[in-house]
Symmetry: C2
Subunit: 275 residues, 2 copies
Amino acid sequence: MRTLNGKNLAAAIRAQAEAEATAGPQPRLAVVAATADEASLWYVRSIAKAAAGVGIACDVVDLGADADAGQIGATLSRLSSDPQVHGVMLQTPLPAGASAQQLAAAIDPRKDVDGANPLSLGRLAAGLPAFPPATAAAVLALLDHYEVELEGRRAVVVGRSTVVGKPLAHLLLDRHATVTVAHSRTRDLASVTSTADVLVAAAGRAGLIGAAHVAPGAVVIDVGTNPTEDGGLTGDVDFEAVSGVAGALTPAPGGVGPVTTALLLRHTARAANLP
Amino acid sequence: MRTLNGKNLAAAIRAQAEAEATAGPQPRLAVVAATADEASLWYVRSIAKAAAGVGIACDVVDLGADADAGQIGATLSRLSSDPQVHGVMLQTPLPAGASAQQLAAAIDPRKDVDGANPLSLGRLAAGLPAFPPATAAAVLALLDHYEVELEGRRAVVVGRSTVVGKPLAHLLLDRHATVTVAHSRTRDLASVTSTADVLVAAAGRAGLIGAAHVAPGAVVIDVGTNPTEDGGLTGDVDFEAVSGVAGALTPAPGGVGPVTTALLLRHTARAANLP
């Protein structure tokens, strides 16, 4: 079985981002957070650090866990109209009563480097230029990097979030895969997932995908980042069990995650260079 | 086998549209056409006639087959900002060089009664209020009218257009079906479609779906409207062959079509009543 490590690909994408970032005026990414969730804030700091590493300025706008939807929306609007800011990202989770879907509509689509604005999703679905969510784009980037054929093949995505499952379905359709979206209400999940040539687990449930869910030789991409009791992260795929069946499998962490962050930076560099 | 006729449902929806249309100021729908295609112009006239029947004014803005993208876009923008117009629809086909996806972005989402603006598709996918394309909405309306259960069941949509296949996939996902989108590049189509509890044919190929494509007892919805040699229309489903296998099947014409037109009118009445 091949292990589809994301680290080398991430390094290559970061190098592209750095080349694009240093070719013109310095790109600037603004990440808006309104949470006390430690894992989320850790991720925001890791983005800022990675940005610095490739010559992208990153402002973390921490509104605190008590911010309301009005404040968050006003902040996104202000950043969207600030000519010094090239990329705007809204970190989740958000306080109760604040909807990421609704608020993300305030992000200028040209600065929507994490594809959160519903207009970006619609443009993606319609085949028009748009930034896809970095996580969905990372899955495609990994499949391409490891030369996994998609045209005419059966892809099953487990999870229907607007951040991963839905945009990824459109990206896979655009590459001429036959695409199934399964989710928590799917009956007999294993019978659905075992039809997949390419299986993407993005449900947010640790260990959801076991050996019985995977066809022999299938390519399995694990998008899950579930907290473990000892403070670490684990994927949606039972790595040990599935590695005995799959033809190829991403580690989690170390697969989709680093590619996601690298793509977010490349999107920001591209946003800064949009005509 | 049950025949899922659309005529009674269409009449009920038209009655709702009429009640909503006559409750306030008269709603006005503008249909922009730029084609010499006879079937398309016939359809536009049938919309205008149906609108008149429920108390909705309908302006057909025929730009002719020589119109360019600039003219079409300017017309859509003008109608979008005209307070006398409540619904705006762009009829296809368009002249070469004019992209319906790109042009539809000029339609105000609040007047986008046929869900053509990519923002409407994105909002639909994100679970936010939006008008779905009338054809996609008609499939759901038929399934609901005939009390076809969707939650946890397997739905297969053949066709990945932004007008039917893609928005319908989101509508079905929203109803908790497990959804597969197949298309012209799908390998062994019958093996995919025969897993469906609910099969929707929206590929635009006459007779594409035969008995071998359908599981015994499945519900089959035929969205196809393919011209026949004798000047009529026929669906994507071989009605006679499939009626021996399916549990329920729409006629085409007479199934999805009348419901689509009725929903377009109801959307227009609702657009006129938006706060």
